[in-house]
Structures are given as C-alpha cells and as structure tokens.
Assembly symmetry: C2
Amino acid sequence: MEPLKGKAVHYTEVEAQVVGEPAKNAKIRWLVDREHDNAPVYALRMIELEAGGYSPLHQHNWEHENFVVEGQGQLLIEDTWHDLYPGVVCFVPPNVLHQFKNTGDAPLKFLCGIPAGL
Amino acid sequence: MEPLKGKAVHYTEVEAQVVGEPAKNAKIRWLVDREHDNAPVYALRMIELEAGGYSPLHQHNWEHENFVVEGQGQLLIEDTWHDLYPGVVCFVPPNVLHQFKNTGDAPLKFLCGIPAGL
C-alpha cells in the first residue's frame, strides 16, 4: 500500500453532497475518510442543515461525536432535547434514538465523526 | 456495563489541562473519550495554543484528524507547512513527523481526534 498522505484544506473545498429523504434540507461533506485518505479509525464529516432542515429520528449501532461550528439547533438524544450553538460538543452513543434539527434562520453546521468504513 | 450516556455541552465546560514540555503554551480539553464517555472508537480533544505556542516536532503510530476552530497557525506534515485558519480540516497520517504552531496573537484552537484508549 502507498504511504498515507497528509492534507490540510478548508472544509468548503470538499464537495457538499445532498442527503435525501428522510432527511430534509441536508448536505454532507466527507472531510476525512477511508475512501479518500485511508483514514484507519474514523471518518470526519461536516453536516449542513439549511433553515428548516433536520435529520430523521433514527438510531444505529455506532456512535456520533459532534462539534457545532455555525448556527442554532437542537439535538434529541433519547428523550432529551439539547440546545446546539457554536462550540457545543456532543456524544450520541450507539443504539440510541437521536435527531438533529435547525431551529434558526441560518445554516446549522456541525462536525460528525463516525467509525471508518461503515 | 451500564448503557452509555449521551451528552451535549459547550467545550469550555470541559476542563483545560496544561500540556507540559516539550509543548509550549499548550492546553488540552478531552471533550469525548473512553474514560468519561465510554466512547468506543475515537477520542475528541480541543487543543489550545496561546500566542507563541507550539506542539513539539514529533510522530507516533496513530493518526490525527483536526479541525481549526479559532486563530491562525501552521501545521508541518513531513516537509510541508500548511496554513491553519478557521475551517481548515487536516489529516496527519500515522508515523509522520508533524508540528502545530500558533503564528498569531490570539489563541489557536483546533479539534484533534485520535483512536480511543491510547
């Protein structure tokens, strides 16, 4: 295997892909991942929810680690809604119902790290 | 084992620990980790370098995934210096010499994710 290559790029240089239903007004940028970087352990993505946007209420058997970069919103973890604003860090454990939503007028942008290779 | 607990807190609510030499003017906050959260795959930390601060030129057999939150700086990966400013995402592969330094007057703050349990 070739040696892994380092990188340092602004996140807006990474393509934003539309996330379809059941999400709404949602885009994702795969900032660091196994496919492009051979990142061995986890993938770092930027999720962008436009005004009115949300992720579905859902669960899966891996965790999220999040950091809010811009905007205002809320995150449901099980039965509790948490306020999201720049600088908030979140841990969503595996197998727990959760949902992100934008509650403001501007985009809500947050990092979302998950195990690599899913 | 108890079920894992979710959380959503502002990063400044997490204690900043001084990083000693050979780093300079450096602090770290362990935002999500195995010790406190049972995060299974990776740990998310906030590194804060005050003016004049830097990490040592070093390498290790795990990778970094970074995101710059505040400030100005540079990151050396092997033989190339990369500019750091808010929104820059970095991948530092395992076993590669690297160094972060603050080149501005304000703190340089960046997220740094590493495999859990190191």
